[in-house]
Structure formats: structure tokens, C-alpha cells
Symmetry: C2
Subunit: 196 residues, 2 copies
């Protein structure tokens, strides 16, 4: 294998979901299409210079406020708190949420040494105090780090008199009950809703 | 979606085997790892400048002869003819072949307007005349274009007194007989080998 191709294959196989075979397919595709390769290299190479953080919610932005903070149709009384910007994309795809977001930039993790001061929690508290926020929804992963972070946020938000809620935890839709672990099933039972 | 990210997603989804979800995973992975992103952009961006064609067999090379043409352990009396350089990689993985290669750069295709003069056929004939070649193996795809190209090559190579062979066509190993089409099955029957 020649060096420039091998270097590309190595870089490609570090990407999530790309094995050696996929990397080869992609490499030969790019080799055959100089123009596509140029565009892709440009898009990847300029990513970090061009992607900024929204100064209000810390989501991704092309500069200044992010598209959601700028959108006049969004409900400005609700903030949904997430750990990472890509979680916003998933929530947006549900079409169920029309409020604003706040990106913590991670979760409290004793194992990784991430404390609350490493997250954008002060900025969130400031938003709740300064903007007219009625509800803060916590959409954090239902694991230890998410629970720790949720507990800390609840403690800090409650004194501000804002409603704090958490997205429902339960059995994933369209999956067998068998795949749900006991903790999830337990939460699904406690969080059951009456059918009428 | 902000512009720099959207541009990256668009470029990524043009790659073979990459859908929108995979593109998002890759984009956020790169967003979180500036150093990996820099390396990947560099590897893709420099690919076309750094990958050359071997002046003898037209396979890929980092400059000068390709690694196979340079390898003294290869059998220099046999040339295996393929349409594209990536087919060499597949053949090499079989471990069954120790000769040289020749990359045509495509196949004769009336539909796409590719004629024999667009391929590296003259260079192949020159190699057969000038190098001490005893056998030329055709490893072309068993479809119309491959057959046309094989017929043309046979016609041009025979007068040079070289043995011309073609890789066996038959039932794919490890698959059900049912998946093989009639033409393949017919070839498999005609090309049957005696067991002893």
C-alpha cells in the first residue's frame, strides 16, 4: 500500500462506524473524484474555524446567536438542558419541542474529574434569572453522570422559583420489552400513565 | 443547521455507504477532535497531489514504480489485467497471485463511449513484447463491458504468442446456489472441474 493512501485509510478508520473496507471504498471514491475530495477536505479543514458557540445557549453557531436562539417562533419561556450540541439535533427531529436549549458542555463526572464548574451551569442560572423562563426541562442521559448533574441542577434551579422537569424514562418505542434493563423497566412502571 | 456543519454533512453524505445519520456521527466526532479533523483534511486534501500512477502498470504509486512492480519477489512472467487499481487490492488479499498487474483504467463501453484507445492497452502490448511475459490473466468483471474488453485483448495479445487466460467464473463460495443467476450457473457447469 502506498503511503498517501495508507495515511488516508488510517485517518478514515478512526471515524465512528468506518471499518477498513468502508475506508477503502471511500478512499477510492475520493481518488476518482478530485473535486469532491477538495470540497470534503475544505469542509473538514475549516470546521473548527467556522463553527462557533452560541453566546447564549452554547449550542453550535456560525457566529453570533445560533439559529434556534435567533428564531422568533420559538417559545422563549422554556429551556431544555442537554449535555452536548448533537443531542439538540435528535430532539429537534422529534418535532415535539418548540422552546430554547442550553448546552452544558458535558456532565458532572467524578470518574473523569468533570465538576459543575466545568459546565455552563452559571450561564444557565443567569439565563433563568434574566430571561423570563418558566420551565427548565432536563434531557440528560439516564446514567450516573446524568443523574448527578440533574440533582445538582435541581438544587441550583429550585431557589429561582422556576419549574424543573425531566424527560420521561421508560421502555423504548418499537423495541421488545426484553431489551429494556431492569432499571429502565422499573422507571417505566413508576412513571406509568393512565389510559382513558 | 449552521452552514459550516451543513456543508460538511453534505460532503460526507456523498461518500459511498455514508447516510445522514452516519454523517452526523462523523461530523460531531470531528467537531470534538480538532487534531483528528486536521489530519483527515490533510490526508484527503493532499491525496491527488501525492498519489501517482505507476509508469509501468498504471496502478497507484507514491511516485515512480508501484510497490508491486518494484518487489523483486514477484513473478515477472505473468501479468494480471484489471480495470481499476482497487481490484488489485482485492486480488492481493486472496494471497493466490504472485505475478505483476496491469491496470486498464476502465473497460470498453459503447454505452459510455469508452473505446480501446481510452485504455492502457498499447502499454500492455508493449510490456508483453518487451518484458519476458509468458501469461496474461484477464481479471475483468463478467459483464458486457468486461467481455468486450476481454475479446479485444485476446485478439491483440494472441499474435504476440503469449498465453492468455481468464479467471474462473462460477458459483460464489459460501453462498447459496439460489443466489447465482442462470448465466453464472451455466458458466459454472461448463467450467466444471473433475474431482479426483
Amino acid at each position: 500500500m502506498i503511503a498517501p493512501l495508507e495515511e488516508l485509510l488510517q485517518a478514515l478508520t478512526r471515524l465512528p462506524g468506518i471499518g477498513r473496507r468502508s475506508a477503502e471504498r471511500i478512499a477510492f471514491f475520493l481518488l476518482n473524484r478530485p473535486e469532491e475530495a477538495r470540497k470534503l477536505a475544505q469542509a473538514i479543514g475549516s470546521l473548527h474555524d467556522r463553527v462557533k458557540r452560541c453566546p447564549r445557549c452554547y449550542s453550535l453557531s456560525g457566529g453570533g446567536l445560533c439559529p434556534i436562539c435567533r428564531d422568533p417562533r420559538r417559545d422563549r419561556k422554556i429551556i431544555c438542558v442537554v449535555a452536548h450540541p448533537w443531542e439538540i439535533m435528535k430532539l429537534e427531529r422529534t418535532g415535539e419541542y418548540r422552546g430554547l436549549y442550553h448546552v452544558l458542555g458535558g456532565l458532572i463526572s467524578p470518574a473523569e474529574g468533570t465538576g459543575f464548574q466545568d459546565l455552563t451551569i452559571e450561564a444557565l442560572l443567569r439565563r433563568v434569572r434574566e430571561e423570563e423562563i418558566e420551565e427548565v426541562i432536563l434531557a440528560l442521559e439516564p446514567k450516573l453522570e446524568g443523574e448527578l448533574t440533574a440533582m445538582h441542577l435541581l438544587e441550583r434551579l429550585k431557589p429561582l422559583g422556576v419549574k424543573v422537569s425531566q424527560i420521561a424514562q421508560g421502555v423504548p418505542v418499537g423495541r421488545d420489552l426484553e431489551v429494556a434493563d431492569e432499571v429502565t423497566l422499573g422507571k417505566a412502571i413508576r412513571g406509568r400513565i393512565e389510559l382513558r
